[in-house]
């Protein structure tokens, strides 16, 4: 269970997050929505250990994560799929996936994890030996998600997984997330594609200007007037 309370973050003098509080319960899919620059990536960064918050707390299963190194956070059970995938382009699909299981805990379950990933993304099985640099955007995203899954996480975080990917593949990835969640992994998702995110998630938060501007059950938010106007209206991103 992820609990964030009163989180404050800044880059130099620029305040990025102000008093952000949210939770992700076990087995939930929670979406984080909001315009560009609202601080969504920074929030994920704080949880993953890449960004040090100025104030507030981030606790995972009761433990404070703020002073923990990113690689140890993976050990604790949180894995992140960063924006833009950030795969190791000079290495093969197999190597990227293998590195995903680097932490001690994940190593033990390596074989099963790999099987699960390849079942989830059959496309990758045929391309195991290929360099990831040669794959399409959608396939790379699958590798990125797979790499995070190899860490045997209890919470999977994704930063804009649908960005720059062909619609059919987006569908496949979102379906995969449902599967993953069904297996007991909580999902915390930052997504530009609001409609798809709200269809997928149980709950959602809306971040605007570094503050939580709204929250609630996904179904309810889909109907909400402000949400419809700001994010689902004619100028909003279409699924």
């Amino acid at each position: 269970m992820l609990e964030i309370r009163g989180l404050e973050a800044a880059y130099g003098d620029v305040r990025v997050l102000s008093s952000v509080s949210l939770t992700v319960g076990p087995g939930e899919i929670v979406a984080l929505l909001g315009p560009n620059g609202a601080g969504k990536s920074t929030l994920l960064g704080c949880v993953a250990g890449l960004v040090r918050p100025r104030a507030g707390s981030v606790s995972w299963e009761g433990e404070d994560l703020r002073k923990t190194s990113p690689h140890l956070i993976v050990e604790r059970g949180i894995a992140m799929v960063p924006e833009g995938r950030r795969l190791f382009a000079s290495m093969t699909v197999e190597d990227n996936l293998d590195l995903g299981a680097f932490s001690a805990r994940a190593r033990a379950a390596r074989r099963q994890s790999l099987e699960r990933v390849l079942t989830l993304f059959p496309d990758l099985a045929a391309r195991r030996r290929q360099l990831v640099g040669a794959l399409s955007g959608g396939q790379q995203q699958m590798v990125a998600v797979g790499r995070a899954l190899m860490a045997s996480p209890r919470l999977l975080m994704l930063d804009e997984p649908s960005l720059g990917i062909a619609p059919q593949l987006v569908r496949a990835i979102l379906d995969a997330l449902v599967e993953i969640n069904r297996a007991g992994v909580a999902v915390f998702l930052v997504e530009q594609n609001v409609r798809a995110a709200l269809t997928l998630a149980h709950r959602a938060y809306i971040l605007e200007g570094g503050r939580v501007a709204g929250e609630g059950r996904a179904a309810a938010l889909l109907e909400d007037a402000h949400v419809r106007r700001a994010y689902l209206g004619p100028l909003a991103v279409r699924p």
Binding site: P70, E75, A89, S90, L99, F102, R147, A151
Partner: protein, 311 residues
């Protein structure tokens, strides 16, 4: 030669043949030396590629490796090739210590400051190590002469010094080993991942600090090995540090980052190029040609010094 008034065809051919042999011999020797250049450069390349740290004390580490082998030989009678078994682990340890005490702090800054600081720290380290070496061992040249030191393998008209041939073989083996290490070993892949994208590596669960430590230690070990081979095939003194740092830099600039085998090949190339220029311009200027090529390539490479093959 052949344009002399008393033109005797057979003598002309013989003179030409002798000249050819001379050039071939020089190229061969250049190749043998180039293998050590490649080994020296590999360590520097690894450290710079992974940690983004420019350790200009790399030459001094080579020098220390050479002295390690020399004293094992002078005091204990150890064959220098055997002493590699001690020098390499010793250098690994030294590298780990240097990382923990010095360079580990340098890597905390972001890339541009990191490179500059590492340059300065490396400079201070080089100066200190040099002064220490002069104090401990005097400024004299040292060389290891073994019983089989003069042995030569004849290949037609060419004479291949056995020791230098063995050194080339060992250098090649070490580079090959390093390549395999980086390709197959779990931590080798972690090192490559950290080199490419350290944040993504952290997110994958890799302890990047530990990967850095390993890379630096391995780089130092390679330097130590190179130093040992230099001490037996050539000679060492406290002053070879700067010379070898420059040589390593020249090779790395030509090869770019990313491939250990490519770096080794570039080392061979530099060795041969030096030999050829020595034949054309005369011995004393062989150093200059290498440095000029270095400077020109440095300035002309549009990606800055090291063109990344990835991203």
């Amino acid at each position: 030669m052949c344009g002399a008034p008393t033109w005797a065809p057979s003598r002309c051919a013989r003179d030409a043949g002798a000249a050819m042999t001379l050039i071939a011999q020089q190229i061969l020797l250049g190749l043998l030396l180039g293998g050590l250049y490649g080994l020296a450069a590999a360590g520097l390349s690894l450290v710079f590629g992974v940690l983004k740290v420019l350790n200009v004390a790399h030459g001094e580490l080579i020098m220390l490796g050479g002295y390690g082998a020399f004293w094992l030989f002078a005091l204990l009678g150890w064959d220098p090739f055997a002493s590699l078994l001690v020098v390499i682990p010793g250098a690994l340890l030294l590298g780990a210590v240097l990382y923990l005490l010095l360079f580990g702090f340098v890597v905390r800054a972001h890339e541009e400051i990191r490179i500059k600081n590492s340059l300065l720290v490396g400079f201070g380290l080089a100066l200190s190590l040099h002064a220490l070496a002069v104090r401990l061992w005097t400024a004299d040249d040292r060389s290891i002469t073994t019983s089989y030191g003069g042995a030569v393998i004849s290949l037609g008209d060419l004479a291949i010094p056995l020791i230098r041939l063995l050194s080339l073989a060992i250098a090649l083996a070490l580079i090959g080993g390093l390549h395999l290490l980086l390709a197959r070993w779990r931590w080798g892949k972690a090192i490559r991942a950290a080199a490419e994208d350290w944040q993504a590596a952290l997110l994958t669960g890799i302890d990047v600090r530990r990967a850095y430590l390993l890379a630096f230690a391995i780089g130092t070990a390679l330097a130590g090995a190179a130093g040992t081979l230099v001490s037996v095939g050539y000679s060492i003194s406290p002053s070879i540090g700067l010379e070898w740092t420059l040589k390593a830099l020249i090779v790395v600039v030509l090869a770019g980052l990313g491939s250990m085998l490519g770096t080794f090949a570039a080392g061979l190339l530099v060795g041969v190029a030096e030999a050829v220029s020595a034949t054309i311009f005369g011995g004393p200027y062989r150093e200059v040609v290498g440095l000029i090529i270095f400077f020109v390539v440095l300035v002309l490479r549009p990606q800055g010094l090291f063109g990344r093959s990835t991203r």
